[in-house]
């Protein structure tokens, strides 16, 4: 029982550790001096732990329900002919997978702490959420189906530009753009995958890399796309505060919702014949075809879905910042998302979430840590200055650090931090 929940708890704990410093740090940029001041707000942290405990209670309830269903047949008496009964208590696992996105949603939106979470912190968390969506999306193709994609940010920018360009001419708010971006992004992925997924080998990696680079150059050179300057979106198409929520809170809530929806979609597919077909293709393409899996179609499905998810993330990005530029699909962006997937664990949505949180938030954390120490008298007295400075250096050299971490990962833990928990769960479903 513990083995089964260990990855979930580990992930929860990891994510909580990474996120909570942001909730008790307040960023205050000083534009005159060009510095960022940071203040400690321990009372917020207490609220945060209060919120966290509600999430743990929810998790505990799910766990107890699962336990009860398994050992004492609670579920059976409750719903003799319901879906849950027939699902053979599969459902508790699905919902457990949603805890992390839910956690992400609940904490800052919780009534007690919402007032305390600063706009800048929400902005950071929203970005973390966007990266999580991208990582989960990319994981379908790279982790589950085993196809390398090197230009994933191309689809991210594609969605953003689709939104930005259209809203220049007609009324096209983000909530209209998001579903359309899903469809058109998927279509773009399908068309791009069609010629190269029929071939074996890593052609997809090259083709997507080319797509992202070509798309960026195209947008840089098209006058109506704003060139290097990009496009500033109209106010009526981007996120607006409503229902007592501020702008950034709406933005965060939409991101969190999109993240939950993405994880739900991907996990449902993963634990279905489709997901099994994807893994089979990754494991042995010839054998998969020989047992009746339409390999090309399944690869196309995986890749289009990845592209569609990235395009939706692009729309959210545009609606968040109100600004879209060719820098969105720089090669570094694609590699960053790929690194998140690899670090977290190929083929495991949960790992992708974890990797994205880690790779996005840790550097951000390192950035503010030195000034946070400096601003706090007690800490400034304890922490020697060279340690404080070393955090600064760590942040400055974070790309170098990423490289080192990736090499070490490949050597000692190629399956990623969380690896694939699929086997374990599949075993216990019986």
């Amino acid at each position: 029982m513990l083995t089964r929940w260990r990855p979930y708890l580990l992930g929860l704990l990891g994510l909580a550790t990474i996120t909570f410093p942001f909730l008790w740090l307040q960023l205050a940029p000083d534009f005159a001096k060009n510095t960022v001041g940071v203040t400690w707000t321990p009372s917020h942290a207490l609220n945060f732990f209060g919120d966290l405990s509600t999430v743990f209670v929810v998790a505990l309830l799910i766990w107890l329900g699962n336990l009860g269903n398994r050992h004492f047949g609670w579920g059976r008496a409750l719903a003799r002919n319901s879906v849950w009964q027939k699902a053979d208590h599969l459902w508790t696992d699905y919902w457990a997978w949603l805890i992390v996105p839910l956690l992400f949603l609940i904490i800052p939106l919780n009534f007690r702490s919402i007032g305390f979470v600063s706009t800048s912190t929400l902005g950071l968390l929203t970005f973390a959420g966007l990266y999580m969506i991208l990582a989960v999306g990319l994981n379908i193709t790279v982790g589950m189906t085993g196809l390398l994609v090197l230009g994933y940010a191309g689809f991210y920018a594609f969605g953003a530009y689709l939104f930005a360009l259209t809203q220049q001419y007609i009324y096209f708010p983000w909530w209209m753009a998001a579903p359309l971006a899903f469809i058109f992004g998927g279509g773009a992925g399908y068309l791009l995958g069609l010629p190269c997924l029929r071939l074996r080998g890593d052609y997809l990696a090259i083709v997507t890399l080319g797509f992202a680079e070509a798309f960026r150059e195209l947008m840089r050179n098209l006058d109506f796309a704003g060139g290097d300057k990009g496009i500033v979106l109209k106010d009526n198409s981007i996120f607006q505060g409503c229902a007592g929520l501020t702008n950034s809170q709406v933005c965060f809530a939409v991101t969190a919702f999109a993240l939950v929806a993405t994880v739900f979609l991907v996990q449902r597919l993963f634990y279905s014949p489709v997901g099994r077909a994807w893994i089979a293709i990754r494991e042995n393409e010839v054998a998969a075809a020989a047992v009746g899996v339409p390999v090309v179609q399944m690869k196309l499905l995986a890749f289009s879905l990845s592209a569609a998810i990235a395009a939706v993330a692009g729309v959210i990005y545009g609606a968040k910042d109100g600004f879209v530029s060719p820098a969105m699909c720089e090669f570094q962006q694609s590699i960053m998302v790929l690194a998140m997937v690899i670090l977290g664990g190929l083929g495991n949505s949960y790992g992708a979430l974890f990797g994205a949180g880690l790779l996005y938030l840790v550097p951000e954390y390192l950035k503010v840590l030195p000034s946070a120490i400096q601003n706090n008298d007690a800490l400034a007295a304890i922490v020697p200055s060279f340690i404080r400075d070393s955090f600064q250096h760590l942040s400055d050299y974070r790309w170098l650090l990423f490289g080192a971490v990736m090499v070490i990962m490949m050597l000692y833990r190629p399956q990623g931090l969380l690896g694939s928990s699929r086997r374990k769960t599949e075993m216990l479903h019986r």
Binding site: V83, D88, P273, E283, N284, A288, A290, G292, V293
Partner: protein
């Protein structure tokens, strides 16, 4: 009556090498037919043509009277022809049970809405798949290993798993590529038993095998290939005495 499988002058060349030349074969339902021949005789190439992995250069393949020449492997499989591989091709990172579950892909409805919402129908199907898969594992004697990683199975058991996986596609014709290769005498006897019991389920079997004891015991019909050319075809007793077969296997001098 149309035979289950019929090949008409099937040929495949690789550059200048004629791997398979003008092979005519008829397999009736519920029969075991063996393909034998020295190494490099084109037996596996012949299998690859039948199962759609290679596109033949000439001739045609009819499965239950339907032309399947040049169709992709997954379609051939869906039409009722399934196979195992000489060099075992399992899905190593999947459990034994999952390996068999993959093979039920074609028998599952994939309508997106029931799948995403877990409609009762979908859940019932999922459960049915699991039960069926366990049934197939039980049939080949692997039920107790259902939760093991397939790559950690012993060699002989991996061969059995491949057979269970092939059976799970519910074929009418099963192609077995050297199922007894690398097995000890006891395992070979068990494998022969398994093959006979597959026939008892109403399937026809096309077999490549080097172990002559196995071939002579269970085959109804034997096709002998040498350098891609069919040199003999008939009942085991007939093939055993065929001078051309003896020559192909033992060489000119000895047979003289």
């Amino acid at each position: 009556m149309t035979p289950l499988l019929e090949t008409r002058s099937l040929s495949k060349t690789f550059g200048g090498l004629k791997a398979v030349q003008n092979v005519d074969l008829r397999i009736e339902a519920n029969r075991i037919v063996s393909v034998i021949g020295p190494n490099g005789a084109g037996k596996t190439t012949f299998f690859n043509c039948l199962s759609g992995i290679y596109r033949p250069d000439g001739g045609s393949i009819l499965l239950e009277g339907r032309d399947i020449t040049g169709r992709p492997p997954h379609q051939v499989c869906q039409l009722g022809l399934s196979r195992t591989f000489q060099n075992i091709r399992l899905f190593p990172e999947m459990t034994v049970l999952e390996n068999v579950l993959v093979a039920q892909f074609q028998h599952r409805s994939l309508s997106p809405l029931p799948l995403l919402l877990h409609s009762p129908h979908f859940c019932a199907q999922e459960k049915q798949s699991r039960d069926d898969a366990l049934g197939f594992l039980d049939f080949v004697g692997l039920a107790q290993y259902a939760d093991t990683l397939s790559s950690s199975l012993a060699y002989g058991l991996q061969r059995r798993l491949e057979i269970a996986r092939a059976l799970a596609t519910r074929p009418r014709l099963l192609l077995l590529d050297e199922p007894a290769a690398g097995m000890n005498p006891q395992e070979t006897i068990d494998m022969v038993r398994l093959i006979s019991s597959i026939r008892d389920r109403g399937l026809a079997i096309l077999l490549i095998e080097h172990d002559m004891k196995v071939v002579m015991t269970i085959s109804d019909d034997i096709l002998v290939l040498d350098h891609g050319v069919p040199i003999a075809h008939g009942a085991p007793d007939h093939v055993r005495k065929d001078p051309q077969v003896i020559k192909a296997y033992l060489g000119e001098e000895i047979s003289n």
